[in-house]
Symmetry: C3
Subunit: 208 residues, 3 copies
């Protein structure tokens, strides 16, 4: 598989995740809002999911330890936040699209890496999803909040659908680049539709 | 050591941990209670402790990545919760016994795996305990609560006693299957007695 | 590099981190304050950062699994807390100096280990800092609080400056023992000055 396409998209995803994490720190009431805490929250958001995936797979060296470009992408995202915090906050709607593109790509890359490690389909699908969502989960946990995946409209589920689709298309020998585009697009599509129409999964009632 | 006995008990433990985690999500006030968040909380509760143990030991592939049956056990537990949430909530007392059996087995299996990696006794005892309790710790942390191990009657301590006992009996060449049964029973026994009589460890007073 | 000097300082750091973690548990209002939870909070505080560093690097076996002395240092710290909780609470100012020495040493050792794994400079600096701060981050997260690194005066930043300095001096072939002493001293110095004069990093204003 040629990773050059997904590689640069992936770096953009890292940068956008950094921005969304850093902005979350800026907007948090109990936060110091100093340079470090904004940087660190962005960093954790950007690398958390991929790091957990690599650690769970024993896929060493972990991506950001191996590839300095990831850290540069984080640094650029951080610089953008401290230089233009007001503008980026107003651009949230546009950033949402980037973030959604990011989780689409993360999902597919994570699933691919798991499959390349010979992991079974079920676990590969979960690891694809974990790659995409766990940076945000760790960020929210450190901010002392219930993670957004437990509060938001369909989010992690979109990733799970995308990773399952990737695995199915992969089993049918669909070209890897096409598979990447199709599966990531499905993640993005589900997420966009869910947000626009405020769709959620069925809820389970405990007391009826 | 013949793992077939402990293997099937272990799978039951996975399923029961999934149920207890999923029910905790259902009962949490800030939770979305949708299908995904209930599934994911169950999943994390079931695999958290073993995953942390394997990652700390460098024991790759991690159990649920290697063995698809673990994921099926989780899926069955999840199905039971979404099909019979009311019944399972009422069965909590009975589930408590399963959960307790689960931590007994988890403790022993975790200790065994650490010893098989040539880990010193002190660290093996801690890793046995971590296998049993950390799924619940991560669950509580994600739910934005102080983990139950810091609030409940004797819980982790029961695991620690069980893992130390396992290591001692192992040093005296007690048959591994007997050792599993004896040590897990001691964990269960301590836990049951502690809950019934509301026993706790001595508290440390800071101001006297 | 001769680690014998840093080794014993490192063990002292482990002990002091255990004490600071155990005291934090004692002072927490939602805590059980029993023997186990005090021990476990101390344990997590002491080994969290180094464990995360080793796991991220794939540096197996993880330090406390390999070296029983680390667990003894933790046990001694724990004993001191349960025997003399009142005295240790009053000694907080003096302990602060130990804790600060601890993060200085942790930073340098963590950076050294990352460099020895052939990790790039940027990631090595981050891993040095992570070694020093993440035990406390995990402790605060388990205690259901926003981590101190997001609240306190310059703390993690001091570590980051120290690890960058270590890497620079290392690139100039400065003797490793001198480098350890100089870089750790700089961490301690920045931290002491920051606390004394209540210095923080510039804050980022979101709304102006």
């Amino acid at each position: 598989m040629d990773f050059s396409f997904s590689y640069y998209i992936g770096l953009s995803g890292i940068m956008v995740f950094t921005i969304s994490g850093a902005l979350a720190a800026l907007e948090h009431k109990d936060h110091h809002h100093d340079l470090f805490s904004v940087f660190f929250t962005g960093f954790i958001t950007a690398i958390g999911g991929g790091t957990l995936r690599d650690i769970t797979l024993g896929n060493y060296p972990v991506s950001w330890v191996r590839d300095e470009n990831i850290l540069w992408a984080i640094f650029i995202g951080f610089l953008l936040v401290i230089l233009f915090p007001g503008i980026l906050t107003k651009l949230r709607d546009e950033l949402f699209l980037f973030d959604t593109l990011g989780i689409g790509i993360y999902t597919v890359i994570g699933t691919r890496i798991a499959l390349d490690h010979g992991v079974n389909f079920f676990a590969s699908a979960l690891l694809g999803m974990i790659s995409a969502i766990f940076g945000g989960v760790i960020r929210d946990t450190l901010m002392n909040e219930v993670p957004f995946i437990f509060r938001k409209e369909i989010y992690a589920t979109a990733c799970l659908v995308g990773s399952v689709l990737y695995i199915i298309l992969n089993a049918f020998d669909v070209n890897a680049n096409w598979n990447l585009v199709i599966s990531a697009t499905v993640v993005v599509g589900i997420r966009v539709v869910a947000v626009r129409y405020n769709l959620g999964l069925p809820k389970i009632k405990l007391f009826d």
